[in-house]
Symmetry: C2
Subunit: 217 residues, 2 copies
């Protein structure tokens, strides 16, 4: 069983490794975990001793099979708790991440299975991210960034790739929430900002925002 801290490292390494084959770098981990590179090196050694990561000096780290399983489990817990907070306790989607950061470390496997059942086995968390099942299986459908669409394209909002509170609150305010249908009406030449129609309203989002909205056509 891993400590609270070890779990945080595993999860960060997992996220850093998601869309790449290359190893996670010390500095990248340090930045995400809000610590110093020296501390990361220490922890990496410890995780390597426990066979949770493969580590070669100066070459970064990769999760082993067993490390990856542990990480996916943490992700599962995090996302199930987020669903609970939004669906049952009526938190908004921008308020749940920090609380889930704590709840994800509660160890009882029985608790998570029952929570999953209580929530009716949700497939996605409030941000559209897939929830691994109890065997660690994970839907890895990849959605298209809104910023890749062309004028006239239609689609459904399926997720976001940025989870900060300001960003999520902004989306909420302009009505860009999960499940909504959108159609691109224009892409501004000058700044690449996207004009789109959603529920009979016309709104404009910056290219920066559009990059972090995930669409299913």
């Amino acid at each position: 069983m891993q400590s609270f801290t070890e779990e945080n490292y595993l999860k960060i390494i997992y996220h850093l490794s998601l869309n790449t084959e290359s190893a996670a770098q010390t500095n990248a981990i340090a930045e995400r975990i809000q610590t110093k590179a020296a501390s990361v090196t220490d922890m990496i050694k410890k995780l390597a001793d426990k066979k949770l990561v493969d580590y070669k000096k100066y070459q970064g780290v990769k999760l082993t099979e067993s490390g990856k399983n542990a990480a996916i489990n943490i992700v599962r817990r995090h996302r199930l708790w987020e669903v609970f907070l939004v669906e049952k306790l009526n938190f908004k989607w921008d308020e749940v991440h920090d609380i889930a950061e704590e709840l994800e470390h509660i160890k009882s496997p029985e608790l998570i299975e029952r929570l999953d059942e209580f929530l009716a086995f949700p497939k996605n968390d409030p941000h559209g991210d897939p929830i691994p099942d109890k065997n660690g299986k994970l839907d890895n459908t990849v959605f298209i960034k809104l910023s890749k669409l062309k004028t006239g394209d239609k689609g459904l909002i399926m997720g976001v790739s940025e989870h900060s509170s300001v960003f999520l609150q902004h989306l909420e305010k302009v009505g860009l929430t999960l499940g909504k249908q959108i159609r691109i009406t224009e892409i501004t030449d000058f700044d690449g900002s996207v004009e789109l129609s959603i529920e009979n309203k016309q709104i404009n989002v910056s290219r920066e925002v559009a990059k972090h909205i995930l669409i299913k056509i």
Copy 2:
């Protein structure tokens, strides 16, 4: 804000001080918290520095007003989570304590207020213990031990004063659960064991068990 460990000490000191005016003793704390007396002394000093306990060497500790508030808050969280686990996730009353020991340390006050609301502001936990309200107010009705009743006395089971899994499972098995009405039919001379009728059945419980069942007449 207190650490996980500090919170555990505060809670134990609170429980040890409940039915007494005298200070909590080092060894008693050590035993409850599964540590050594020397460690307790160290932690007590730290809590005293933080004005959470009053401490005079060799004289034990008492919670200050602020320490007591913190402790009651932890008790509130513990008991609300226990209700959640039993009412919403269908855990049995003997299965929830250890999980609640972890959940009680999740810090968000907003989370607890919403959980309280979600559970419809329960007054008691699954073991009959009162849940402090958000201002720390706590129903301190004292119930009578089943072992104090005389032949012919009737009453309702309101709580237990022993929370071990074996004990709770035993009560479950013989049908002595919260809210049930009982009537004492005989008290055995030989061993003081109690014969009682409950839902038209006759059962016998040892004096030791009877001491830990709390009754409202």
